[in-house]
């Protein structure tokens, strides 16, 4: 497969989409990012890699961090986790709160904010210093110690993230949040503020495409069965209200973030990260979605 040529084509074919989306501004700090950027990094399981564009520029991974915290929590408590958070797609974002009410405080899945707060709560219960542990975990997965929180982004979200406060207190009212609300939110805002470049993010996804084994340090983080299950979750729930559209158009399990990043993978074969800050109306990167659709079409390699 001529990957360099495919990446070149993708760069050329997505360029015209600059300006079609909007940089997220609901977290004021995120609104400061220059919009016309695009990066892609492909990490094959055999160790080779290919990249194009702004693949070495750090960006705020935001919700993509949820797969890392989920992997940590799932590794710690296993299937017990599903007693506190379900594994079903959430339908429309519109229903998030009423669903939570109807289902008595059990979030639909660990990738909607309510579910991710439960996952964070598990980490807060298990670790004395959960923020440090999360950083350590992401550094290990990416094989790179140059990974940090962006304190300004975390603070910015804390000051404006009223809806997340509402969700957390709502979970607390159902008894499904064990720790202090402010403490859980603090850890949550920080892990969302982690910054990675595409090259690091694609490598960080290898643990999933590699059946639970971290190729960078040879350690096993998840059983093969656990890795498979988290991948299944990414497939059905990883793209908010666009999970169906993404599965339909791209056919890869993955996770997106409002920072404009998308991480995806083909089990046993490769992981891939794209980034471009302009988002469509559903909060996913315009160029990122298109780039992945072109990639699976041109390579003919998707899960379906």
């Amino acid at each position: 497969m001529d990957y360099p040529k495919i990446l070149e084509e993708i760069t050329a074919e997505t360029k015209s989409l600059f300006g079609k989306g909007k940089v997220a501004t609901y977290i004021p700090e995120l609104g400061k990012v220059a919009p016309e950027q695009f990066g892609l990094f492909l990490q094959l399981n055999d160790g080779t890699s290919y990249e194009t564009g702004d693949s070495r520029v750090k960006f705020s991974i935001q919700s993509i961090s949820k797969i890392f915290t989920l992997a940590m929590a799932f590794g710690l408590v296993g299937e017990e986790l599903w007693k506190r958070v379900d594994i079903e797609p959430s339908g429309s974002s519109f229903n998030s709160l009423v669903q939570l009410e109807y289902e008595r405080g059990i979030p639909r899945n660990p990738f909607i904010n309510a579910g991710a707060l439960i996952v964070t709560d598990v980490l807060v219960s298990h670790f004395e210093r959960p923020k440090e542990e999360i950083l350590r975990f992401v550094r290990a997965l990416t094989g790179n110690d140059d990974v940090y929180f962006n304190h300004a982004v975390a603070r910015s979200e804390r000051e404006t993230g009223y809806r997340n406060f509402a969700l957390a207190y709502f979970l607390k009212s159902f008894g499904n949040l064990k720790n202090d609300v402010e403490r859980v939110l603090d850890v949550y805002f920080f892990h969302c503020s982690i910054e990675l470049a595409c090259c690091e993010l694609a490598r960080g996804m290898q643990v999933f495409s590699n059946h639970g084994l971290n190729p960078f340090n040879g350690e096993r983080y998840l059983t093969a069965s656990q890795a498979k299950r988290l991948i299944a979750l990414m497939q059905t729930c990883g793209f908010y209200d666009e999970a169906g559209e993404f599965t339909y158009a791209v056919g890869l399990p993955g996770k997106s973030g409002v920072g404009g990043g998308i991480a995806a993978l083909l089990p046993g074969q490769y992981s891939i990260a794209v980034w471009s800050p302009e988002l469509n109306g559903k909060g996913n990167s315009v160029l990122g979605m298109k780039a992945l659709e072109l990639f699976t079409t041109k390579t003919g390699r998707s899960v379906f």
Copy 2:
């Protein structure tokens, strides 16, 4: 792979689940089926096949018929179809009506009843005799002319299916049903009443695992891209409120029916049908779900 041994093990390991579920009775005719039955048929893309148990006993495919009518309608109108029905998971069944109201009469996906009624409506618009065309289509896909509607089941559902009448009139009130409500429902109830045995159903799924080409008559029914897209839809939306659970536990795209059947496939490799009439609380076959979970675990062959 020693398929005969695997199928034998599955039969042995699921046997203890008889009695854990309940035969569907909301359609009175369906309630007459003997509960302790189990069949499985595996059709490899290379033409070989394996089977066990009641794999030659006909059963009511019910909602599984929706993938056949969807394939027909998608072949006829292509991407235009998604203007009238979305491709996103539906969240919880609880929200079906409010979601339809919120989204102004556009069903979340073609596998929930509201969406399947839109698909049927497309067929009613295109064919003078839609019921005959559906039968012809299913016969061609299964390579078997011995395929019929069960008139008693169709009548039984027509007499008690008030909720489907409500859905159809609700769609009509939004202008998203073009034909007479009674006529669309008639065709809908009939296509749900089709009876197939596992051996026929597994063969009928080959068109999807075979990239749109019907291996039994050599004809192309869908482009490779269209087949891929319908498979993606089965993955995210094929199991009602248990789509996430099924993807998580089994990892195959497919579709279930309240008759107790489940059809699934691994693109390019195999299609498989299981049947056992006892259902869990979410309307999926208890033994069928377990059998497929065991099958992908034992063979190690799923999409993830």
Copy 3:
């Protein structure tokens, strides 16, 4: 109290509102009414009456008919009725269907369409010829035999009232509609098509302001306690999503219809009917609402 002068002032002060609303067109036949009409009829309990404008022009009473059918059904089955329909305000119209689903087919109150269908169902169960009985009842209450259905309006609604079909089938799916759906809807569409002039409608409301006694034939139709209870229901539930607004601005119990009519009363003192076909965004007559607000302000006589 100088009623003639007050009515004259009201006519003058509401005139400028012509053109601020829109004649209902969702029932095509209703759309044919000339918009710039306004009538008011005041019937004091002492037998004297005052009127202004188009108070003798017949109009389609539509939902106002629900108070007459409710009085009939309540008279027949008494408090038993509230096992099948609740007596609480419905919140927003948006929730009608989900609330019905959440509350297992028990409509919130007898004035929303779902509840009125239950009331009609009671009449269909009790009478062999319910349509004739309803006409007879309304004729007796209004002291006028010149009261008829408008067949064209009833047919027009039957042909386009898909949402009412959806509601009726939904109720049927919960087992809360005893008779054939088509038959109940037929009676429902007909009773909504009754035509009255303000003078007749105001008189028809006397039974409520007169503690259950029909002053025109001396017969008792409801106990004083029953009359009081139906009046309470009109107060909390009579104006759809504007019940609060109406109670706030006018302070009288009553009922509106999309034909542009509003009937209201002050227990023990008077009944009043206004009519003007142009509706506000919530389906209530623009001039009618204003006229009643002016009337209670100028007379200082409301329930509060």
Copy 4:
């Protein structure tokens, strides 16, 4: 009217209901109240009064305080208030959050918690020391300086009222809460913790039954029109999900609280307060509701 005899009968006829309800425990401090207590105080507009039972025992007025804060805020900002909170009944409590979401952060009415938080927010914006101002206001209305917050109850609610935190942050996320969430909640929890006896509460309602004039100090607090409007609001929205039931059975505007108190009035004639701590499933006092129903039936004096 022989009020002493009527009150005696009511006491006798409600006694058998002790034990049919449950003392509220969701605020732990409230759960400490002895359940078998019942008091009633009737204040006629002519200055005479009648009482029975525990009419001089202080209890936590909880949500009844919302009518006092509403009267303060309405007096301050007038009709402007309705831009931030609506005046419609809320339908079912079940929908509170989804309705808030659907209506973009505008609560349905000022008596549901979300609406009362908006009202409190107005007071926080207008007063430097809102808690002191609220106390001063309630003391003036009741003509009694012996009125205090219960700090233990306020603290108890602050420590367990996660759902109110969720609501407040949700309002904040829509921009409909101007002040700091914690500060608004603090004032809210304190005003709910005010303790009054029936004799004080009935007197405090005189300002409403007396057209806005406080009979105890001769000062006007509301215009007659404003008083009428707040009374209309109590009628349609004062009893949560039982507003219809209460209007139906009692026929008086009023407000209940989970402390077991109910305040009600007949405009121009009397105000009345009852208290008994055991609540029905919808959070209203069992004996209190019954006592008021008996009172309006026996006296024949209600708004309808």
